[in-house]
């Protein structure tokens, strides 16, 4: 199917669900792309996965009682996020164990609840793998408004999120409320997941959070650029994925994720500074930048070398 035909289908009133699905998919990809930057940079992918699973019982309850899915999922995700934050105060267990316990429990609860609904196998599959049909008009507004709120909070708290991501102890010493900001960030991740679950599915939503941001990270060393690039990549992949899945009758969620993965692999190979191709063509890349404080011989400690993504042989000021 050519892009023109796809455009025709989008405008065809008989296929009104298609533009709605496109709008929801693109909006949620944009929101996930922005939030995903924090998820990737803070190494929170596991938490993102946990939240994605833990919204499931809320979705299931909302589905069984005929309530709003976004609202139900948000409440369940936020409840889990708070439980994780509270349980993590116990020093005997590490946070990832707590998360492992709670998110599988939440997912199990969702499976049990949704089994009570008639036609349970079909709805379960819809939840797990996404569906582009049957999105109510109201969801367009819910997704749009929720997404706007998430982006607004990111805009307002960006400085704080960066500060606590760089080093928590110094942030605490500066009087920054690390615990509450963590909680807010978990809630934002939850909301981004919930608005995305409908089209892409519960299992695959992690890709929407992590892959665009990880791709953007390969392409830039600037946080601002990364946070613009990730939603752009996510949005375009959602559009492309929907087009491909509609043309060849493939599952939408899976197709969007595969498109994202393809973009990630391209960036891995061809990224201008960190890609395989760029590395191969750059001999002597271990050279250290010159130090204006005359510490030119100051190689970093061995233990620091692995946190150093790519030392550039740039002379000072050349990259400013």
């Amino acid at each position: 199917m050519s892009p023109i035909e796809f455009l025709g289908d989008l405008l065809n009133p008989e296929l009104a669900f298609l533009p709605k699905a496109l709008a929801v998919a693109v909006m949620s990809s944009i929101v996930c792309g922005v939030i995903g930057c924090y998820v990737v940079l803070r190494g929170m992918a596991f938490i993102g996965d946990a939240v994605a699973h833990s919204v499931f019982p809320g979705l299931a309850i909302a589905f069984v009682v005929g309530g709003n899915l976004v609202l139900g999922g948000s409440l369940a995700g936020i409840a889990t996020a708070i439980l994780v934050a509270v349980f993590s105060q116990n020093r005997r267990l590490k946070e990832d164990s707590i998360i492992g316990v709670l998110f599988v429990a939440a997912f199990a609860l969702g499976v049990v609840i949704i089994s009570q609904a008639p036609g349970y196998a079909g709805s379960l599959q819809q939840f797990l793998f996404g569906s582009i049909t049957g999105i109510p008009d109201s969801d367009l507004y819910v997704v749009g408004i929720t997404g706007a709120v998430v982006l607004l909070v990111v805009f307002l708290l960006h400085k704080e999120f960066v500060t606590i991501s760089l080093d928590r102890e110094s942030a605490r010493a500066l009087g920054v409320q690390v615990f509450w900001l963590d909680l807010v960030l978990y809630v934002l991740v939850t909301l981004a997941v919930v608005i995305s679950v409908q089209t892409i599915g519960n299992i695959l939503v992690l890709a929407l959070l992590v892959t665009p941001a990880a791709t953007a990270r390969l392409l830039t060393d600037r946080l601002g650029i990364m946070m613009a690039l990730a939603p752009a990549i996510g949005g375009l992949a959602a559009l492309t994925g929907l087009y491909v899945s509609w043309s060849w009758d493939l599952p939408t969620g899976g197709t969007i994720v595969l498109v994202l993965t393809a973009v990630f692999l391209l960036a891995w190979v061809f990224a201008p500074r960190q890609g395989l191709v760029a590395r191969a063509g750059r001999p002597g890349r271990r050279t250290r930048p010159a130090d204006p404080g005359a510490v030119s011989g100051s190689a970093p400690a061995v233990s620091l070398a692995d946190t150093d993504p790519d030392p550039q042989p740039a002379t000072s000021g050349a990259r400013s």
């Binding site: 708290l157 400085k159 760089l166 010493a173 946080l223 930048p289």
Partner: protein, 255 residues
């Protein structure tokens, strides 16, 4: 340790701290005046980090009090600059040197407020002070160990603190870099700040500090490097070592 009459920039008075039900610090007395670089030396597990966290107001002492410029320690409320160990910082984060230094002002700016001209000026001054101005736009992941340490110092300086706390600033750095940093720390102190620095590098501490405090659960001794280096028994007591120890020979050589 005599108080010279002026209020100390940093005063730790009879501070005891419990961690997990165990007394980690016992009746610690420590002062640092403006213009003074104090080295804090002790073995692993002596409570150095606990003491720093208590001074920052992140741990509540079970007894005693910490005051900064006469005011009780409280995170974000008193002018203390904290310089963590380099490994505690997420260097892989895609952020420029200047923006890292700006995060030092996050607490003071408050929620939802963006930095203005005054804040960027403070950042520029701090970078200038540690001679990192030329690298202001460089992503921090591309810096050497010594440069990274200076970025952390600049971030702490952005608040124009009266007291600077340095946690093991020399770990993993080569000697020339250590010497340059030592010079910077001494200058920062002598310009009118109080610096408290924990270190395992006893030679650097003896060489660069105005005063040294030996810590093992409590302050074993405090005095000028010359005074302490002349009394090996203090070091033996602090580190729990015998007379044949290489550490003692090193201290005596420095005396």
């Amino acid at each position: 340790m005599s108080d010279t009459g002026t209020t100390a920039a940093l005063a730790v008075e009879k501070v005891s701290v419990d961690l997990g039900g165990r007394r980690v610090l016992h009746s610690v007395d420590l002062r640092a005046h403006r213009g003074e670089l104090v080295g804090l030396i002790g073995p692993n597990g002596a409570g150095k980090t606990t003491l720093l966290r208590t001074i920052l107001g992140l741990l509540k002492p079970a007894a005693g009090a910490v005051t900064v410029e006469g005011r009780p320690a409280k995170p974000g409320r008193v002018p203390v600059g904290y310089i963590p160990q380099r490994l505690d910082f997420a260097w892989e984060f895609p952020i420029s040197v200047a923006n890292v230094v700006m995060t030092g002002l996050t607490g003071r700016l408050g929620l939802a407020r963006r930095p203005g001209a005054a804040q960027w000026e403070a950042v520029a001054d701090a970078l200038d002070r540690v001679r990192m101005t030329e690298l202001a736009d460089r992503p921090v992941g591309q810096l050497s160990g010594g440069q990274r340490q200076r970025v952390l110092v600049a971030r702490a300086l952005a608040l124009q603190p009266a007291v600077l706390l340095l946690d093991e600033p020399f770990t993993g750095l080569d000697m020339p870099t250590q010497e340059l940093l030592s010079g910077l720390f001494a200058d920062l102190a002598h310009e009118g700040r109080a610096l408290l620095m924990t270190t395992h590098d006893i030679l650097s501490a003896l060489d660069g500090s105005d005063r040294i405090a030996l810590l093992n659960r409590t302050i074993v001794a405090s005095g000028t490097p010359a005074e302490l280096a002349g009394d090996p028994s203090l070091w033996a007591r602090t580190f729990g070592i015998g007379p044949g120890s290489a550490l003692l020979r090193m201290v005596q050589a420095a005396a």
